[in-house]
Subunit: 360 residues, 2 copies
């Protein structure tokens, strides 16, 4: 009988953590035991895994003894502190935060795109940013056949990407405008656009062209994540990527308006076929039937939906498309569990001897 | 004493018409009388102009006798039918519908950009599509200094662009989700994405990549309007323009993520200065202060707000920006009244002798 794993979920009570539990329930991974970890504040809570009651425990440096796979989604600082202890304890870490993504010893993986990057892992594998993941699923089939010269992307991102507090803030603001007839510009804002930034703005009936804080080049960190992570995942520094990341009043599922230029001319019918045949991608593209991806229909699904595929009106190698996926599933929980499944399939769930990450 | 005008507003009871009346109240145009016209259904309604009660009348072929300027915003079919009678009666028509925009005898005007096109008018002047107008105000100062090679635009458009019924539908759907806990994908949709199309989809907590119906090339009419109108307004068929037009759950003000390539390298500081100095444009761009345009702060204002201006990360002549304006003011009512003001200033409010448009 093949080995069965002890799987830890760090940040089990959060929006992504709870979905990781659901994805593990439906997973092909042979699971012996699930261990739920969170902050001291959430310890003692009872959550279900396959109708079984599990008690949430406080994450400590000792929590990972006997753990084979640890899924982290409790914020960058929690990963920074505890992931190295998990590796030291013999676990393989799949980290859903940005903390290790650009670390040269950490593979950054979208299984449909670069599963082979897992083969040389050093105990920690990073799950890319939600907005990057769905773009990779949509573009990899095109890159494989026609090459990829450049990407210009404008996002329409859901508030759930900023956490439970951002969802609550959005719903409260919308109620104040719709029920209490407040002017949208006058509702109280305390979370968005970025929890850690100085100023906060309403999201209800608004579009905020800031996700995460600004970097020195006047792009935001979210925008630079899309640029840097794309180059790392596709293992090609020459792909030009510029992003404009925007938050809109949607709860679940990110939408993206993507423009690409391919290296060779890509006939639209072949692009559509490539996407339709790519694992994890679903082609929804029929203007005559008004068929295109939508946030409300993508929510709750693990696939990435692609439509509105059409030639640029002028650039011979230019193509536009509309890409939608559930930011908490393929954008986070599902991609993490899928990485764990792929590690298992490739025989890569094993202790790491040469510890590359500092214990702090 | 200079002449004072009789000004007719056709579609006076609509969202744009009511704003035209407000813009006329604040206008520098010498106004003798305002005449309010609408459908038979709205006739008899009392509206205010400068604290004066005015009764709405039914639009007929005879309504324009004695009218000097007629502002039309009652739908393309109303303009098609009545605008030629208004011209025949001696009025100058400013038409806010798409009906005459691409007609070779009709100037398509954003006063800050191409007021000179008014000089050869033949009785009808067209007001461009809302999404085009604000893009023109943002890009013309750049075009003047650095030339314009191409434009790639993704829009974030408010539901008010689809009329009062779309606003009501949006608010109802949002209430059903927020108050009645309905799943966003299950709310009743009867109007959006396009009143005249077969299928309708929810807009609450959604982003719909369809505005107006699809054309044969898989772009929507809204997207093709941005392409064709830009070339006509800037009087340059060589500018490459491809658009992706998206409706989001915002009531007022369109936002646009615009990428351009200039003909000569445009230093960002000079681009910002050009926009700041351009009439009708307001620069809101300071990442260190999280200053950028927003729909909720642009609503109710006549200006076009521009920010997030930054170099593309790879293309030497590539620039990204974020452009926001009130779609019912600069996008419709204000641009129309501003055209009327400009006609007056240039001495162009006069009867047209050579009638170019068919009476039907």
């Amino acid at each position: 009988m093949s080995k069965e794993y002890v799987v830890a979920v760090v940040g089990a009570t959060g929006a992504v953590g709870s979905r990781m539990i659901k994805m593990l329930e439906a997973s092909s991974l042979p699971i012996k035991e699930v261990k739920l970890l969170a902050t001291h504040r959430s310890a003692g809570k009872i959550l279900q895994f396959k109708s079984q009651d599990l008690t949430v425990e406080t994450t400590t440096e000792q929590s990972f003894e006997g753990v084979d796979i640890a899924l982290f989604s409790a914020g960058g600082s929690v990963s920074a502190k505890f992931a190295p202890y998990a590796v030291k304890s013999g676990a393989v870490v799949v980290d859903n935060t940005s903390n290790f993504r650009m670390h040269s010893d950490v593979p950054l993986v979208v299984p449909e795109v670069n599963a082979q990057a897992l083969d040389t892992h050093n105990g920690i594998i990073a799950c890319p940013n939600c907005s990057t993941i769905q773009m990779m699923v949509a573009l990899e089939p095109i890159r494989q056949q026609f090459g990829l010269e450049r990407i210009i992307v404008s996002t329409y991102q859901a508030v759930s990407g900023a956490g439970a507090k951002a969802i609550a803030e959005t719903e409260r603001q919308i109620q104040e405008v719709v029920n209490d007839k407040k002017d949208p510009k006058d509702v109280l804002a305390e979370i968005l656009p970025a929890g850690g930034d100085k100023k906060h703005y309403p999201i209800a009936f608004n579009a905020l062209p800031q996700i995460d804080v600004f970097t020195e080049n006047d792009y935001t960190y979210e925008e630079m994540k899309m640029t840097k992570e794309t180059k790392k995942i596709m293992a090609d520094d020459t792909i030009a990527v510029s992003a404009t990341c925007v938050r809109i009043p949607v709860i679940l599922a990110h939408s993206e308006s993507i423009y690409i230029e391919t290296k060779t001319v890509a006939p639209i019918a072949e692009v559509k076929a490539a996407i339709a045949n790519f694992p994890g991608a679903v082609l929804q593209d029929d203007p005559s039937q008004q068929l295109y991806p939508q946030a409300v229909t993508a929510a709750g699904h693990r696939e990435t939906f692609v439509g509105r595929i059409r030639k640029d009106l002028d650039a011979e190698k230019g193509i536009h498309m509309w890409v939608v996926s559930d930011n908490l599933l393929k954008g986070a929980a599902w991609n993490s569990v899928q990485i764990a499944e792929t590690l298992h399939e490739r025989g890569l769930v094993r202790p790491t001897k040469d510890l590359k990450f500092d214990l702090i």
